[in-house]
């Protein structure tokens, strides 16, 4: 049948007039014509869980003739209540990406060259299996490692289990820390960090924490910010955002406080100075649940009074003393103050210092005593889940039942440092390295050591949907499924005050010969004689199903349910009622697939301070001891100079700009590209510069005063030069950055990652002088000085 405009419209079931004059069709994609011509146009809907970020939003996918055409939010998913973010919307562009790898690829040329030959799955798996068996036979399991991009799903635990069962300790998870994670681990060995409830605060102070444009869950927090902003005129809620750049969090706050990058911890301690001087502190909490607050010469008040008086703090941070005084007094006088640190504050040389200082501000100012403000995450009935950790002294990675306070840090804090740990002899030589769900060569601030390290490893195997910047250093690239073609469970979102498990299920069967990572690992385990599944599941889907059995058996929670009051649901549950009836597991499992996941409608209980370790305030001695202890870290300023206490090295030295063309580089993330992976999706590439109105390409945000001095205008091209290299960017003159920084969006400038990302824009991370926070091991994004030169068009 020939498609004419008339019969096409008939097939659509509409007429031009009926459609209000807008549905006439002139150009139809070929494949769509075919679909319309032969398909019955049956609409179906399936639910699943988004995995573009770790937020775990429930999604509802609309399919026509079993071809997914659009992603919407799942209205009964508790974390997003039917909404998505732009990344969630764009998921199908990932699924249907024209450059997806169609079969396993073996490297043809030298490492670093993107030259491939396709091979069969059998051949690829045979090669890996042979390599594995060789290592296991020689008892050299520790020469196997796995770098795994942790998307907050069950698959991370499965991959960790796979590594552990082969006998290796080298499981390297890669993800951003949660809000307050560094500070809470240091202050009272709390990991993962406590959840918080923004509904309960009347004074929200965010130190670089941008809840609206990145993990843990931007949709949840955009919803909540909308609600809080609406009620703000009635409730008087004050929201203050402290940052060198006014991110969306700053734009939606009641006040933005400009600060020099890296000096947020100094501001927090300066506020502590004022609060202590005013004696407006939470005496009861301090007396019962903290230590090192009073201890003579070496206590917290001594640290603060000696080193952080307002004039000195003002000189370091650039925040005027009167602002500092006002903030401190407002914060300590409010009924439910809440200070959060995360985002850019955990990406600086002073990351842990800052977060510890901010945690101390909470302890000092009644935040921890406010009813319901801080919540205690309730563990799932799965038994203890091993935690990937890294030993601060030896640098060794391992999976442990829990972190050891004195010697361990969460493993993901140091994954970016792997080549340096190897150079320092802290990691064994690896014969086989697997990489999945992460692109270290794009994300790493120090790419050369990564290139060299990966070049030395004989077998680098990568699971990927697209050839990315890391692929040229892999020996074998295995095509893997997207989250829309596989089974998985998204785990409870850190920092959110309730528990949920989002079910991922295949909306379509795997496309283009891709296979789910879980199934590939399972097959490899079977072939090499590693027992991976005690539940005797034959596939990763079976494993996912089996993991929901203890949840069913516990009788807690319910499959997602139409929104009613949480309290009402909790009351029903206490009375023995269940929202749904599921006498057998099969019924429960069917409901999970229909509804999209499970949640516990009761919010987490209040944090109990009695049962946890006492909160430790920072002191000079503790800072100095930490600095001396953490010898594994690269850091150029470890030696003590004169009488200067070591900890003052953490005060973000030399932050002032020296010459008119000198700036501090400040990369930032946007909601359209939180992880760098958004660049592969054209919708996100185009609208990532929605606010500055710069589409596709990155830009450099500069304060009007500095732009005037340099005779620069909007749209002028500049060359940005650092010790690592130079890039050319167009200037956007905006008052939303401090005059000392040059803010550049992160996420562009991929060397690979498909046609929509390849060689479009520049990657600011490649310009970064990779300094490391000596206390946490996190690489700083906020310490690189750059010079700016005007480029003639």
């Amino acid at each position: 049948m020939k498609i004419t405009r008339r019969n096409f419209l008939q097939m659509l079931g509409i007429t031009g007039a009926a459609a209000g004059g807008i549905s006439h069709v002139w150009a139809i994609p070929d494949q769509w014509v075919e679909k319309l011509q032969y398909g019955p146009r049956i609409e179906t809907w399936m639910v699943s869980t988004c995995s573009q970020c770790p937020g775990g939003c429930g999604i509802r996918v609309r399919s026509i003739d079993e071809i997914p055409v659009r992603i919407f939010g799942n209205p009964i998913a508790p974390v997003n209540s039917g909404f998505t973010c732009p990344m969630g919307e764009a998921g199908l562009e990932l699924l249907y990406h024209p450059d997806r790898i169609r079969q396993p690829m073996r490297r043809k040329g030298k490492k670093g060259e993107s030259s491939w030959e396709p091979i069969s799955w059998e051949e690829a798996l045979g090669q890996i299996s042979k390599g594995f068996q060789g290592l296991l036979k020689k008892n050299q399991a520790d020469r196997f490692g796995f770098i795994f991009g942790d998307r907050n799903t069950l698959l991370t635990h499965f991959a960790g289990d796979f590594v552990a069962r082969t006998g290796s300790a080298n499981f390297f998870p890669w993800r951003a820390p949660g809000i307050n994670e560094l500070g809470f681990w240091q202050a009272f060995e709390e990991f993962p960090p406590l959840a918080f409830d923004l509904n309960k605060t009347d004074y929200l102070l965010t130190f670089g924490t941008n809840l609206l444009e990145g993990p843990p869950s931007p949709v949840y927090f955009n919803r909540l910010y909308g609600k809080l902003k609406e009620s703000r005129p009635r409730t008087g809620l004050k929201m203050v955002h402290v940052d060198a750049r006014m991110s969306q969090a700053g734009k939606n706050a009641t006040e933005w406080v400009q600060i020099r990058p890296g000096s947020m911890g100094v501001l927090a301690l300066g506020m502590a100075y004022v609060i202590l001087r005013d004696k407006n502190i939470d005496e009861e909490f301090i007396a019962r649940y903290t230590q090192d607050f009073r201890g003579g010469k070496e206590d917290f008040p001594a640290l603060v009074s000696r080193y952080y008086p307002p004039d000195k703090v003002s000189a370091i941070t650039g925040v005027p003393p009167e602002t500092l005084l006002r903030l401190a007094r407002e914060f300590s006088s409010s009924k439910a103050p809440l200070a959060l640190s995360g985002g850019v504050s955990d990406r600086s040389e002073t990351a842990l210092f800052t977060q510890w200082a901010v945690a101390s501000l909470n302890a000092l100012s009644r935040s921890f005593s406010v009813k319901g403000l801080w919540r205690e995450p309730v563990p799932l009935p799965w038994g203890p889940t091993p935690v990937p950790s890294v030993n601060t002294r030896s640098g060794a990675f391992s999976l442990k039942p829990q972190l050891a306070p004195e010697s361990d840090r969460p493993g993901h804090w140091a994954s970016e440092e792997l080549p340096h740990l190897r150079s320092a002899g802290k990691l064994p030589d690896l014969d086989m390295l697997m990489i999945a769900q992460v692109d270290p060569l794009y994300l790493s601030t120090d790419q050369k050591p990564w290139q060299e390290w990966l070049s030395r490893i004989p077998q680098v195997l990568q699971f990927a949907t697209l050839i990315d910047d890391t692929s040229p250093y892999a020996d074998l690239v295995l095509p893997t499924t997207t989250y829309l073609e596989q089974w998985d469970i998204t785990l409870p979102v850190p920092n959110l005050p309730f528990s949920q498990l989002g079910l991922q299920q295949p909306i379509v069967p795997p496309l283009n010969g891709a296979r789910p990572i879980g199934d590939v690992l399972l097959q490899l385990a079977t072939e090499t004689g590693v027992t991976l599944l005690p539940e005797k599941s034959k596939s990763y889907a079976g494993y996912v199903e089996a993991r929901m059995k203890p949840i069913f058996a516990s009788g807690k929670g319910t499959p997602y349910f139409e929104a009613v009051s949480l309290n009402f649901l909790e009351e029903l549950r206490k009375l023995g009622w269940q929202v749904y009836s599921y006498p057998a597991f099969a019924d429960f499992w069917r409901l999970l697939q229909e509804k999209g996941g499970w949640w516990d409608p009761g919010e987490y209980p209040e944090a109990e301070w009695k049962k946890r370790k006492k909160f430790t305030f920072p002191t000079v001695a503790r800072f100095d001891a930490l600095l001396k202890e953490r010898v594994l870290l690269r850091y150029g300023q470890e030696t003590q100079k004169g009488d200067t206490p070591l900890h003052t090295l953490l005060e973000a030295p030399s932050r002032k700009t020296e010459t008119p063309d000198s700036f501090l580089l400040a990369p930032f993330t946007t909601l359209m590209n939180m992880t760098g992976e958004g660049a592969s999706q054209p919708l996100l590439q185009e609208i990532s510069g929605l606010i500055p109105r710069v589409y596709w390409k990155p830009w450099a945000e500069m304060h009007p005063e500095r732009a005037k001095k340099l005779s620069l205008q909007d749209g002028d091209l500049i060359r940005v030069v650092s010790v690592k290299g130079s890039v050319t960017l167009s200037v956007k003159v905006v008052p939303t950055v401090s005059s000392e920084i040059l803010a550049v969006p992160f996420g562009k400038g991929h060397k690979e990652s498909g046609r929509y990302a390849k060689n479009i824009g520049t990657n600011p991370v490649a310009l970064i002088d990779p300094l490391v926070d000596p206390l946490s091991g996190r690489t700083s994004w906020q310490s690189t000085r750059v010079r700016v030169e005007k480029v003639n068009k």
Binding site: G21, I22, L212, N222, L684
Partner: protein
């Protein structure tokens, strides 16, 4: 019946989800980087930013900007071929096959909501699967803009008819209103006192863009109060 929209700027967080939802719902073409630099990016829903004052009193106002669906639309008056007109429900519609691409309407629109199709709509293999089959793609040489997702109205009307009832509030929602996480965009019948937009449009915070031009936009903004 008069369809209209209220956007509460006190709630809007400027996340841009409405922009993404609109592009995907209406198959608004994505133009290449080079063309984009020439100002050819097509957004039916845009996000405008206004900077007020200087630091420390700097305030940044962000507001989503769809077509205003004016009651007195300047664009329809200048169209030489009646390719754009206001229908009886107040929606300013476009008839693509009738458009000759003169772009008079683009010049006349004070809100700059219209885009011109410089290219034949093309999708890379695979990506074309993401096209919404409910909305036609536009031909090269025609002007397009926000339609208040009128294809959804058609569907909602048919559904209501099949159930033998009138349209209810919520039956017909634009993609932007449906997707806004902050709940800042409300859509409905401005003349129906049972619809939220009706009461919201009479709020003391209500304002319209460029009111003095007399275009009488049916998109009403509720001003921020802090």
């Amino acid at each position: 019946m008069k369809w209209g929209m209220v956007i509460d700027l006190q709630k809007c967080t400027g996340c841009g989800e409405c922009v993404a939802a609109c592009k995907l719902e209406n198959n608004v073409a994505i133009v290449e980087p080079k063309e984009s630099e020439m100002g050819r990016t097509m957004l039916w829903m845009d996000m405008l930013t206004v900077y007020e004052g200087e630091y420390p009193r700097l305030r940044v106002r962000q507001f989503p900007r769809p077509c205003m669906h004016c009651d007195h639309p300047p664009c329809t008056k200048v169209c030489p071929v009646r390719a754009t007109y206001k229908n009886e429900e107040g929606i300013v519609a476009q008839i693509y096959p009738q458009c000759i691409g003169c772009r008079y309407c683009m010049a006349a629109c004070p809100y700059t909501v219209k885009s011109f199709n410089w290219y034949k709509p093309e999708w890379a293999p695979g990506i074309r699967e993401t096209v919404n089959p409910d909305v036609s793609v536009r031909q090269v040489g025609v002007v397009e803009k926000c339609t208040f997702c009128v294809h959804r109205l058609q569907k909602a009307k048919e559904q209501a008819k099949s159930e033998g009832r009138n349209l209810r509030e919520g039956d017909f929602q634009t993609a932007c209103a449906e997707s806004c996480p902050a709940g800042a965009i409300v859509f409905g019948d401005l003349e129906n006192t049972g619809h939220r937009v009706n009461s919201l449009s009479r709020s003391p915070r209500a304002t319209r863009l460029l009111e003095d031009l007399g275009t009488e936009p049916k998109v009403i903004y509720l001003k921020e109060v802090d």
